[in-house]
Structures are given as structure tokens and as C-alpha cells.
Subunit: 277 residues, 2 copies
Amino acid sequence: MRLSLNQITTKRWSLPEAVQGCVDAGIPAIGLWRDKVADTGLAEAAKLVRDAGLAVSTLCRGGFLTPTDPEGRRAALAENLRALEEAAELGTDTLVMVVGGLPDGSRDLADTRERIADKLGELAPHAGDFGVRMAIEPLHPMFCADRAVVSTLGQALDLAERFPADQVGVVVDSYHLWWDPQLATQIARAGAAGRIASYQVCDWTLPLPADTLLGRGHVGDGHIDFHALTAMVTEAGYTGWIEVEIFNEKIWNTPGEQTLQTVIERHLAHIELRETR
Amino acid sequence: MRLSLNQITTKRWSLPEAVQGCVDAGIPAIGLWRDKVADTGLAEAAKLVRDAGLAVSTLCRGGFLTPTDPEGRRAALAENLRALEEAAELGTDTLVMVVGGLPDGSRDLADTRERIADKLGELAPHAGDFGVRMAIEPLHPMFCADRAVVSTLGQALDLAERFPADQVGVVVDSYHLWWDPQLATQIARAGAAGRIASYQVCDWTLPLPADTLLGRGHVGDGHIDFHALTAMVTEAGYTGWIEVEIFNEKIWNTPGEQTLQTVIERHLAHIELRETR
């Protein structure tokens, strides 16, 4: 099974609880979050996942590269260097990057996007040194102003391709990208260039909640065609982990064991079975 | 002044009130909605705007072309033929088209998009006969599932260009398109092909409200660079009306006269002044 649990899906669980949950449920990999890692302690977290025999599919997350003031820029650089180091220590080769939205008071998308490219350029050699690839995650366009001015896979690839493929890749996240009329073309392009660093899944469900960050559903509960999407990613040559990442208050309030069972059922019903036909 | 009031901006006003409001405020054009036209009666509405000396920039709206059952398909066709006829009667050359989301139970974006092309093909000759252009409005990707599977200007142009330019055009709406990294390229393409049928404006403000349809703000209140966007549209050769279309409960609850004053102030501060420099 290529299923990985992104630990935000079981947000109420600590890292040790999530690790144990994966072991108990037979999920072979986990995507970690830096705040949860910090709660446990980096060395202890690394030991826990290693001893449990879990692969670490990704570390979430670096990014937020758009500050304009010198202090903010220095802080962003330092924070991302720490994130790269943590990723290496945790034994994952992938650091998910949410690039950041418009800086306060700015409406200049072009300038902001160029600033991100500059920062990635500063970080890329360090990523190479750590053996960790920065995976640019295009976010849904509804997050363009406040979270990520990179909104499409094509745009993420344009950015990634300025740097070596082992230093900068892209995330294919179903929730953010499913609507894109160029998706098939851009996934094929990403695969051919060896740039797909992560495939993350959750479903687009309606209505959107008051906090639009938290509107994601279990695979199969919404409008996304996971058969078609997974076929695209597979045909593009991606053989890595398939990470379930769900932000949803109701799912967070469900017991973790139950969530993991649903995650596994949906994975086998909508993703991996079809893929291996 | 090239300002037009899309009458949804003053939703509490009837059509006669909106017409009088434009006359009083010195706004030379109005974008009408079919439900408001129906409330007044088509012939009476046409006479009112004509007698008031207002131009009718658009009629909103046709579309919702995605039903799959025979009855739904027939109804959609009939409804759009009526909308084209009403547009002609009201003296506008532009019918805004919101194409529709995924049909109930479907996750097949490609099929749904192709169905829209088929329906536009059936309608296009009639649009020609009426002297009314169908203006495909790409909606923000957050409306892809439920309102419009056409999400980008490039995609709208791919669709429009299957038909004569006087029968099918596109809408450039700031709210829906501002985030698109290909926006400058696609606006230039649309202009060169003579396909820009309407330029609609309102601002992207945060946080999004519980009903994401209603999150639009006055020009200048949000994150969109209207100087840059208007320059793109102008350089593309568009010389038509600039229509302010705001869905926002708080603005709807503001007295119409006050809203029109804000609309005019913002238009002169952010759009038309810069444009004529």
C-alpha cells in the first residue's frame, strides 16, 4: 500500500499517537508537521518514526517566502533552513513549501512571485546539501491573497524548473488543482521532468465552511474524480507515497482510529485499487 | 465616463429604482438582471432604460448549459433562447453566460465541458440572428463544482474561439481572474481576437464570508491591482463599458444612493483616471 497519513488529518493526536495509530492500522508512511515534531522534540520524533518502521513521506512545511522587510526576509530564510535540516533529521526527502501570499499592503503579484523565486534560489543549494527537495505546493486560487501566490501546477513548474530537479519539485494536491483545465498536461509535464515530489489527496466538498481552510473532505465524499487524477499521476511516472491530508473540523473531532479506517477504505475504493488494475 | 452599474450591486432596488439611481448619479450605463427585468416586465423595462438615456452594457445572465437529461437540456436551450431575445429587446449586444457546474452525481469535468461546447454551438447561430453576443464568464475556481466548470480566461477563449467572434465572446471579471498567472497573456490574446465582450470589476476581500458568493468588495477595498488589470484590458483594445458588479450583503443593505457614490469615487480613483493618463 502506498498510503501515507498526513498527520494534520488526525490533528488532535500528538506525534507519538499518530505514529502508533499508523502502526495499528497498517499504514506504512506518515507526513509530519513541524509543530507536532517540535512538541515531541526533533530527536525523539525521528527515533519514534524510525523505531516504528514508518517511512516519512513529507515534512510540512516550509515556505512563506514573501516578506519584504529585511528582518522578515532574514527570518524566512532562517526558518526554511531549519525546516530543511529537520526534514533531513526526520529521514524524509521532501519538504512541502507553501510559498506565501501578498505581503501586507501589496497588490503586486508579479513582484511577489519574483521574490519567491529569489528566495528559492538562496535555499536550493542548501536543500541539495541536506538531500531534501523543496516541493512547491500550488494552493487553490482562493488562497492567492493570503497563503500562496502560486496557484497552478504549470506556474509551480515554471518556478521549479529554474532549479535542479533534486532540489526543487512540486506537489500535486487534488484539492488545490482538480478544477484546472490544464491539469492533465501539467501533470504529464511534471512527471516527464521528474518534478513530482508528492501526491496529496482529499476531496472538494460543498458548501465551503466559514473558514475556507477547513472545507476538505474524505476521498469519495466530494466532486473530485480520483480515478482520473490518480491515472494522470501514475502515467506521469510517479511511484511515491499517496498522502491523505484533510483539514476539517468535523473529521478532527472524530476519534483518530475511526478516521484512519475511513482513510484506508477510501484509499482502496478510489485510489490504489483502480491504479493497479 | 465608461462606468456601468451592474444592478446586482444595488440588489434591493427594483429596476425602475436602479435606472433612476443611475440617472441621478450620472452613471451612463446599466447591466440588467433577468429576474429584475421580469419583475418590471420586459417591454416596460426596455422603455424605462431607453427613455432614461441609459446604455445597457449587459444582460445577466444565460448559461447553466450542463444538464444531462433530455428534459433539462431542452429547458436550458429554451431558457437561453429567451435570454438572447430579451437581450435584443433591451438593446444590449451582450448576454453574460455562467456555464454551469458539474451535473448532480457527475465528477466528469471533461465531459461536462464538452457538453457546454455543444450547447454553445446550438445557440451561436441564434445569437447571431439576435445581434447579441454570448459572453462566457470564467468563474473563480472555487465555483467549479457548482456554478462554472470554466475557470480561466484561457479556457473560456479556447471555447469561444470555436465560434464566430460576433456570436461568442468572453467576460474579463476582476474577482474571478485576478490570481491567474496567465492573465496578462490571455487578456492580450482575447483582445487580439476581438473577444472581450465585457470588463466587470469588484475587489477580492478577506475573509471570505460563509456564503462565498457574497464576498466581493468595492474596488479598492481588497487585494486586486486595478491599475495593472485595467491597463491590460485597455492595451488589449477594449473600449467598452466597465461594469461594477458586487455581491455583498453589507453593501446590499447600504442605501443605493450611497453605494453609487462609492462606486463612482472608486471608479475614478482606481480605474478610469489612471487609464486616461
